[in-house]
């Protein structure tokens, strides 16, 4: 009996890990290539099939990088906390891998029982609980390296992650409110048939807040302060090399997948998309495609934006995102009640009002926070 359970668990988890590890490799290539093109470079194009000159658009690059990473020397600084230095990358990887299980991916090889092992009632809550562990890993890495830059990076990371978790959760609350369930599968199911939450003013606002907070949670540009290269070298993984660094790297990307996956589940209809009636397994493809769309936007932002300063980052979370997401909860509540009335006209009015309120609040908060910051005019002397 327990063997069957073990097999069930393996069937559910191993493909998940394999798929996302492969996707991670692919994403590193994609990111390098896309960034290169954004910056008018070519990007990796040499590494393809070994011992030939076939480049395959540089698709062999992740493999080559991986091999390099594994064989690189593992350097632990003198005076560093050896145990924590070792534990930190592992602790970073485990939670990000773990939360992948909560994504409502309907793999065709999973039977009714096994897949639902992960569809706990409180999947969304579990998701946030476990992604919160990342903070600890980052702090551990920053502290254990015994490097001032690492410590600064770790402190920044903790402050940033704790602050952005609040708007992240508050915007997810809206969806939970609307669906009335914390179950990821139910949330995805509620959006079947193009009825995605992102297509409503409150849903859209929540999605934007969620996405921005997700950028901050995963330390992506423009919120990559914990690893701000121009200020604190590489932040908390300044002192990491070789395979430990690779683990951090992997953890970061897996976390990106996970949080994009949650965004897809909450706002973009999960595996919903055309053609599902004919081929049910397409839902997995749709799900992954949506994740990649979000990751593409992340890459695009990374190629465009400089980063914020620490105080601005905090100000943005507490003075802009938090009030807006709280307001959004109220807006969504009203909208929910309006929806219950089942009246087209009222719905339209609700839409318009909530649009106006949200946009007005956003620009008002923006004005408040920005102060006198605006483009300037200059004089000329002949």
């Amino acid at each position: 009996m327990s063997l069957e359970l073990l097999i069930d668990i393996l069937i559910a988890t191993v493909p998940l890990m394999l798929i996302f590890a492969t996707l991670f490799a692919f994403t590193t290539w994609l990111e390098r290539k896309a960034l290169a093109r954004i910056q008018n470079r070519i990007g990796p194009n040499k590494v393809g099939i070994p011992c030939t000159r076939i480049g395959l658009f540089g698709l062999g690059q992740p493999a080559a990088d991986g091999i390099k990473m594994i064989f690189k020397e593992n350097i632990v600084p003198r005076g560093a906390d050896r145990l924590f230095h070792l534990l930190a990358p592992i602790l970073a990887l485990i939670p990000s891998m773990l939360v992948l299980c909560f994504l409502p991916l309907d793999f065709p090889w999973l039977n009714e029982n096994s897949v639902k092992a992960f569809l706990l009632d409180g999947a969304v809550i579990f998701f946030f609980a476990i992604t919160g562990l990342n903070t600890l890993a980052v702090f551990m890495a920053g502290w254990a390296s015994r490097n001032k830059y690492s410590l600064l990076g770790g402190m920044r990371a903790v402050a940033q992650m704790v602050s952005y978790e609040i708007p992240l959760v508050l915007s997810a609350v809206i969806v939970v409110m609307m669906v009335g369930s914390l179950n990821a599968g139910e949330i995805a199911g509620a959006q079947k048939g193009g009825n995605w939450f992102v297509f409503s003013p409150w849903g859209f606002a929540a999605f934007v807040i969620f996405f921005i907070a997700a950028l901050a949670e995963t330390n992506r540009s423009p919120f990559d302060l914990p690893e701000a290269e121009s200020e604190i070298i590489a932040g908390y993984f300044t002192e990491y090399s070789g395979f430990k660094f690779a683990l951090f790297f992997l953890a970061e990307y897996i976390a990106m997948f996970a949080i994009s996956g949650l965004a897809v589940t909450l706002f973009l209809g999960g595996g919903d998309g055309p053609g599902l009636a004919v081929l049910p397994w397409l839902s997995v493809i749709w799900f992954l495609a949506k994740i990649f769309a979000l990751i593409a936007v992340m890459i695009w932002l990374r190629g465009t934006l400089p980063r914020l300063r620490v105080d601005q980052l905090m100000g943005f979370a507490w003075k802009f995102m938090l009030p807006l997401s709280i307001l959004n909860i109220f807006v969504a509540g009203f909208a929910w009640h309006a929806e219950q009335l089942d009246n087209k006209f009222i719905m339209v009015i609700t839409w318009l009002i909530s649009l106006a309120v949200l946009y007005g609040a956003a620009s008002g908060l923006n004005q408040l926070n920005r102060g006198k910051v605006r483009p300037r005019e200059y004089k000329y002397a002949e």
Partner: protein
């Protein structure tokens, strides 16, 4: 059988974490050990099918309390170095007495919990189907846990 093994493993982790948290000279190490203890506890909750409490345990204790502790240490201590300060206060004997008293209290309150017993699932997979079953009433589980907590509290206050 499975849950028994899991229970012992998790308990061991929790107890070890707690012991290390108490014993460690280095405050940061201590905090992380404490977090391990919390994690073990959360696993125990999960084992009791109290998944919500387990999640909240992780969210609140590891996510919030742990980070709060780390922040507090970070802001008050010299984080970059571990100065070997006295880890036991002079009044440790009083602490021992209080700890023993608390332990006895807990021991006294232990026996009704055993009566409550864990859900008698014959098949582990039943566990899971039970959870995913639409008809499964999570509330009753919660009630059960709450009842046990209430019993403990009542016994203690009486």
């Amino acid at each position: 059988m499975n849950e028994v093994i899991a229970f012992w493993i998790l308990s061991a982790i929790a107890v070890l974490g707690a012991l290390v948290a108490v014993r460690k000279r280095n405050l940061i190490h201590g905090v992380f050990a404490l977090l391990v203890f919390f994690a073990g506890l959360s696993g125990l909750f999960l084992l009791l099918l109290a998944e919500f409490i387990a999640a909240v345990q992780v969210l609140v204790y590891i996510g919030a309390v742990g980070v709060l502790l780390l922040f507090a240490i970070m802001l008050t201590e010299r984080v970059a170095g571990d100065d070997g300060r006295r880890m036991t206060s002079r009044g440790w004997s009083w602490g021992l007495v209080v700890a023993a008293a608390v332990f006895v209290l807990l021991l006294l309150s232990l026996w009704p919990v055993q009566q409550l017993s864990m859900p008698k699932a014959k098949d582990p997979s039943e566990f899971l189907t039970q959870i995913s079953d639409p008809g499964y009433d999570g509330n009753s589980e919660r009630k059960r846990i709450l009842n046990s907590v209430r019993t403990i509290v009542n016994r203690w206050s009486n």
